[in-house]
């Protein structure tokens, strides 16, 4: 049922812009057909992908900045690269590198930054930060 609704939402959204997806769920700009802010939609269901604690901490820092700093400041922020090299990536690059969104939900960088103050986006940011914190705790737990 949910899969059917997603497919329908994606198909409607794609039809509205005169394009259709090669694979419907993969390609539709589903954000426009989903309730709530684009950032919350993008974060909900996004899988965290990170190899090291340094990457997890950098992703968490980016999410915390997004939740607390003004848009103008966010654009100027720099983050370490995947190998730890300082100042290699901007905020959107960090999010794209370590968060895999659900069902091909597109990332509109400008809307993402401007949505950060929305209540549902704040809630989604805090949920994702809590998930990363749990991952960091698991990584630092003693070996079984």
């Amino acid at each position: 049922m949910r899969r059917g609704a997603l497919l329908l939402a994606a198909a409607l959204a794609v039809a509205a812009c005169g394009e259709r997806a090669a694979v419907p769920e993969m390609a539709g700009p589903a954000a426009s057909a989903v309730q709530g802010s684009a950032l919350a939609t993008w974060l909900r269901g996004a899988e965290v992908q990170a190899e090291t604690d340094a990457q997890r901490r950098e992703l968490r820092r980016a999410l915390a900045d997004l939740a607390t700093k003004p848009v103008g400041e966010l654009r100027a922020l720099r983050y370490a690269g995947p190998g730890g090299e300082p100042g290699q990536r901007d905020l959107v690059q960090v999010l794209r590198a370590h968060l895999l969104p659900g069902a091909g939900v597109p990332l509109d960088a400008e809307r993402l930054l401007s949505d950060a103050a929305q209540p549902d986006a704040r809630a989604a940011l805090h949920d994702k930060m809590a998930e990363i914190d749990r991952g960091l705790t698991a990584a630092s737990a003693p070996v079984r």
Partner: protein, 166 residues
């Protein structure tokens, strides 16, 4: 005449990874593939169509995607697959698999970090006669931190933490 899968008003000029493409999409896919992070393998199918953003590299590290290609694992829905139908998510990759204890790990078992956010493939298991429950395990993985597909020891690089699935 075949139509473009993304722009149905336009004729397809070629199939790319099995998808009918107009000239714009063919060029968009080629441009997106060039933007895929250097460590990601294989690169040619690690792109998707993002509406007004056009064709883009798929977000994420590509770790599960690499394992899926290596093991020919095709799972999940279209929205969580590369252009060739291989899964992108760690959780989808290990779905339906059974966890195995470290003492029973074999080559080709799938390794996953404790937080299920990174994965790799067991490529070497060396028994330790003094500690039969803790063999020396080498994991090959698509490593964003090292910028390439790398081989690392479970005990040191991964600090002996994580789980194995078969």
């Amino acid at each position: 005449m075949a139509k473009c899968s993304i722009h149905p008003a336009l004729a397809s000029i070629a199939k790319v990874n099995g998808v009918e493409c107009c000239e714009k999409c063919k060029a968009g896919i080629a441009a997106a593939v060039k933007k895929v992070d250097k460590h990601v393998e294989p690169k040619g199918c690690f792109v998707w169509f993002e509406g007004k953003n056009g064709w883009q590299p798929i977000p994420g590290t590509g770790c599960a995607h690499w394992v899926a290609h290596e093991r020919n694992i095709k799972r999940g829905s279209a929205g969580e697959q590369c252009m060739l139908g291989f899964p992108l998510r760690v959780k989808t990759l290990i779905g339906g698999k059974s966890e195995v204890e470290l003492a029973d790990v074999k080559v080709n078992d799938v390794y996953v970090t404790p937080s299920r956010d990174h994965t790799g493939l067991v490529v070497k298991v060396t028994p330790d006669p003094k500690n039969p429950d803790t063999p020396k395990v080498v994991i090959r993985h698509d490593s964003s931190a090292q910028g390439k597909v790398s081989e690392n020891e479970f005990a040191s690089y991964f600090k002996g933490k994580g789980d194995f699935f078969r």
